[in-house]
Symmetry: C2
Subunit: 370 residues, 2 copies
């Protein structure tokens, strides 16, 4: 699959009546026709943040002239992904008398998408929403699949809802203005698809990482499309994460511990996932599942993307274990982790040796102190 960067690719998340299209292409924020297709009622609330709004909010509003359009700009950053911020969206919806037929449109990264989606899930017990993701991370992962929600001081993404968007409209041009650090964080979730189920994509990433980081448009478009295709397949198979969808959380249990433990917003989500993936690979290696050569390829690809491979200095093994005990995958008091059997093959399991997890954490945290 080699999408022409001047062309729009279209995928679909097959979920019956809740199914929806993913449009991917340059300049889609101007495509009034796509928004008209996706939006039923007359009222639209565009939710964005202080970083993205100055860049793209006007363009988007110009594509929404046939609707009664209002805007809300939230503070940027994971530390604002709270119930209090969502309450602010509710206030706006009510003050502006938004009806049950109104649509919430999220213009921004994963934080904006998660909160706007959650507000849409709960306002009047559920109204439509549309995702217009502008970060690589949101384009390849968080905007697809209907996971919405906020963080709690005790745990990441602990409050939320499954609420599928009516459409995901990915304007790849918005990556032109994405901060370098945000771009790299997004790459972590791209690598994830290669690791858990698409070994061919992993090889492609090994060959094309330099092009991605140089923001080669064709390479970015292909990475987004292949990631979305993987995500759409998994979500169609297991919408509510009772099985295979949990594999998408590779690195996330470790990563969430880092995000919660260091304070939301210090590490970007993608950075924490990258670090978590390296830890999951280390444990997989100790379990005898992943070969050293595969582990080294994984670390090398993370290094090529300049992603962190050392845990934050303040966190010790006990902090990790305590924070990881609050995880949506804990079941019957037992922690379950996504581990790798090979590049391209992941499992979710509680059948790992606790002493090997301890050894993984001891080793990682020792490195960080020295």
């Amino acid at each position: 699959m080699q999408p022409d960067p001047d062309q729009t690719a279209q995928l679909r998340v097959e979920l019956g009546a809740r199914g929806y299209p993913i449009h991917i292409g340059p300049g889609l924020r101007h495509r009034a026709d796509l928004f008209t297709q996706a939006i039923q009622g007359r009222q639209v609330l565009v939710v964005s943040d202080t970083t993205v709004a100055p860049l793209y909010l006007d363009d988007l509003c110009n594509a929404l002239t046939e609707f009664e359009c209002r805007t809300l700009v939230l503070p940027d950053g994971e530390e604002h992904k709270t119930l209090a911020t969502v309450e602010h969206i509710f206030d706006t919806l009510l003050e502006q008398r938004f009806e049950r037929s109104a649509t919430v449109l999220a213009l921004g990264g994963g934080v904006v998408g998660d909160m706007a989606g959650f507000a849409a899930a709960c306002y009047q017990r559920g109204i439509p929403f549309v995702q217009v993701p502008t970060t690589l991370l949101a384009q390849v992962d968080s905007s697809v699949g209907g996971k919405t929600g906020v963080n709690h001081p005790h745990g990441k993404n602990m409050i939320g809802a499954f609420h599928q968007p009516r459409a995901v409209i990915v304007d790849t041009e918005t990556l032109d203005t994405l901060a370098e650090r945000q771009l790299r964080a997004g790459v972590a979730e791209v690598i994830k698809y290669g690791l858990i189920r698409d070994a061919g994509f992993f090889v492609w990433l090994e060959q094309n990482m330099a092009r991605l980081l140089a923001r080669d448009r064709a390479a970015l478009a292909e990475a987004v499309a292949r990631s979305c295709a993987n995500k759409a397949e998994i979500v169609a198979e297991d919408e509510l994460e009772s099985g295979v969808r949990a594999l998408l959380n590779l690195g996330h249990t470790f990563g969430h511990a880092i995000e919660t433990g260091t304070g939301y917003g210090r590490w970007l989500h993608g950075e924490a996932v990258a670090m978590g993936t390296v830890l999951a690979a280390d444990l997989s290696l100790r379990m005898g599942w992943l070969s050293m050569a595969e582990r080294d390829r994984l670390v090398a690809l993370h290094l090529a993307a300049d992603l962190p491979i050392e845990v934050p200095p303040g966190l010790g093994p006990d902090d990790f274990l305590r924070l990881m005990a609050v995880d949506k995958k804990v079941s019957g008091g037992r922690l379950r982790l996504v581990l790798l059997q090979a590049i391209g093959r992941a499992v979710i399991t509680a059948e790992f040796d606790a002493s090997l997890l301890q050894a993984t954490l001891d080793s990682a945290c020792r490195k960080a102190v020295s």
Copy 2:
């Protein structure tokens, strides 16, 4: 249908994989077997309030000994049905490390049930919950059908989710301790079923109101069972309120305006609904749909239950119109109301004459001032 008060009746809400039983009978709070049937995991959080907990929480915990049971007692009253109180439930769930397999159990009236259900809907994006309603209003209406949520200063029940319980366990003995005013408020929602779809039940209520208010156990059990049977049929037909379910909101648009306008908790929900129903009947009469004789029977039944038939003195017609404009049934900027064509037959319509609504409100508010 004449259920023996010494027997347990069982109904079912037919919603496929989301279907569930409604058990109705005396002393069911002691029936460990019913809870074991309804609850899958090992962790249970019982959410109750300061009025109900001293009366029944110990009994319930004794029936839950096979589970890892925790309790949370919330302040009582509609004025506490807020996102802030729900956040308190989230805190408890996280501090006690509740897993995704845990169950939230609501022991109390509609306020507790709505908030506990909403917390269950959002915790880890949705965990099971069970309703143990202890007020007449909750037993006949709010515990069945999966509507959960909280109020917003600008509008009643504006934030919430559809989240069906795994079971509704109605212990009719708990009505013995129900405050007189709460009992009467519950009767308002019982009358509703007769008005919107069950003329025979309306006649039964005309004949049995004195028994109900005297807390005759057989009469109460029959009223609960017939109400639940009506509710279960409507919910099975229209789970997400895209059609017929809206008829259950007879009196509610006017009633919500009273609750929001006077401040949550001043009028009980059932009292506001009763008043709203009288206003809906008045407008239906002015439309030429309801006969004066039917309207008089309706008012007489409300009077027999000592329910309010005069609007609160502080609210004028403009207040009503302003508050009613924020309603989940407003569509395309047009207010839709549930009106009566006869006793036993209701419609939802935007096709009412605005001047007749004005006349209804003018007349009702004039009476209140004099």
